[in-house]
């Protein structure tokens, strides 16, 4: 193997950025085809290629780090910066939707009846399922911290148990939200209330699903002995992302569910 005189990671040539870009092309064009030409083929193909790309790209990162030892301290520092910056960009993504919500709800137009919630909208009771959802996510924040400490203290069984509970709580949240969506007395088409509600909570729900998937991957890696008590950045990244998802929910709950009702 070639030897390097530095601690950084010169990555092997990889086809995944190209396939990922192609997936983006196919998904966006496919969206247009679906909207205007009644065909889902292109969009589905794009989604499939995106999933294949994600699987293989991140599989390669695990190979490079865990099996080939490329994730030296400076490399790990770069990965930390990367994850923090990515989460920051996601924060700004959500800020946009909160901006839209407050824009419409702080000064409701006459078309809405001059009030918020608008005339004709029966909002969900914030002290029923939404409050349960809040408790579920807060509890999952506790269990993921438990997981981390168990991992650092080399307690394999507790790490696996705590991480499993965290994932189950995340799935429980998703199931509860899905049920709420189904039972809600208003839809996305019900004016600006419906739009802001479903777009903001919908993107949040998507992030919960992404975060749960990330945690499931971490669970599988933990079972397969990938993590050590001092080196487990993949798990830390998942934990950061999960806390971010939790915080976004708290803002959603206070703003849209509670204040907005």
């Amino acid at each position: 193997m070639a030897h390097q005189m530095h601690a950084y990671h010169m990555v092997d040539p990889s086809p995944w950025p190209l396939t990922g870009a192609a997936a983006a092309l196919l998904m966006t064009s496919g969206l247009a085809m679906w909207f205007h030409h009644n065909s889902m083929l292109l969009m589905t193909l794009g989604l499939l290629i995106m999933l294949l790309t994600m699987f293989q790209w991140w599989r390669d990162v695990i190979r490079e780090g865990t099996f080939q030892g490329h994730h030296t301290p400076p490399v790990q520092k770069g990965l930390r910066y990367g994850m923090i910056l990515f989460i920051t960009s996601e924060v700004f993504f959500f800020i946009g939707f909160f901006w839209a919500f407050y824009h419409s709800s702080l000064a409701p137009t006459p078309e809405l009846g001059g009030c918020w919630p608008p005339t004709g909208i029966t909002p969900l009771n914030p002290f029923e399922v939404p409050l349960l959802n809040t408790a579920v996510l807060l509890a999952s924040g506790v269990t993921i911290t438990w997981t981390h400490h168990s991992l650092m203290e080399m307690n394999r069984n507790q790490t696996i148990q705590a991480l499993t509970i965290t994932i189950l709580l995340g799935l429980y949240f998703t199931a509860l939200q899905a049920m709420e969506y189904y039972e809600a007395p208003f839809t996305i088409a019900d004016g600006v209330y419906g739009s802001t509600f479903f777009v903001a909570t919908g993107f949040h729900g998507l992030h919960v699903i992404i975060g749960s998937t990330f945690l499931i991957v971490c669970l599988l890696r933990q079972i397969k002995f990938h993590f050590t008590s001092t080196h487990h950045f993949g798990f830390e990244a998942a934990a950061w992302y999960w806390h971010f998802v939790d915080v976004v929910w708290l803002f959603l709950y206070v703003s849209i569910y509670w204040w907005g009702s």
Partner: protein
């Protein structure tokens, strides 16, 4: 002045005495492995122990490390051989085929009269 290791910035930062004397996450090194048992015959699988289901997995990481560090000149996305190649070829075939189909579809969609 006391210092602690910040897990976030990965270096030493100022801290109060309490954090320096009782670092977070550092516990006495109590091994969770049972002490090496000496039998007349060699011990067999970990699955024999009454521990949690997760112990059924043996630690294959050292073997995988050897596999992925073989000096065969293969890039990491093909390092495992045939399964990697199959997945790569499938992905690339879908990518190239899909891109061509996309360009054709976009060309056709941009024609004024024929709305297909």
């Amino acid at each position: 002045m006391y210092y602690k290791f910040s897990g976030f910035s990965q270096r030493l930062v100022g801290a109060v005495a309490a954090a320096a004397y009782a670092p977070q996450g550092l516990k006495p090194l109590a091994s969770t492995e049972s002490p090496a048992l000496i039998f007349g015959t060699p011990t067999k699988l970990a699955s024999d122990s009454p521990a949690a289901v997760s112990y059924l997995d043996k630690n294959k990481v050292p073997d995988l490390q050897k596999l992925f560090q073989k000096a065969d000149g293969l890039p990491v996305h093909l390092k495992r051989g045939v399964p990697d190649q199959l997945l790569y070829r499938t992905t690339m075939a879908l990518t190239i085929g899909g891109t061509i189909y996309c360009l054709i579809a976009l060309y056709m969609a941009s024609q004024p009269k024929s709305k297909k």
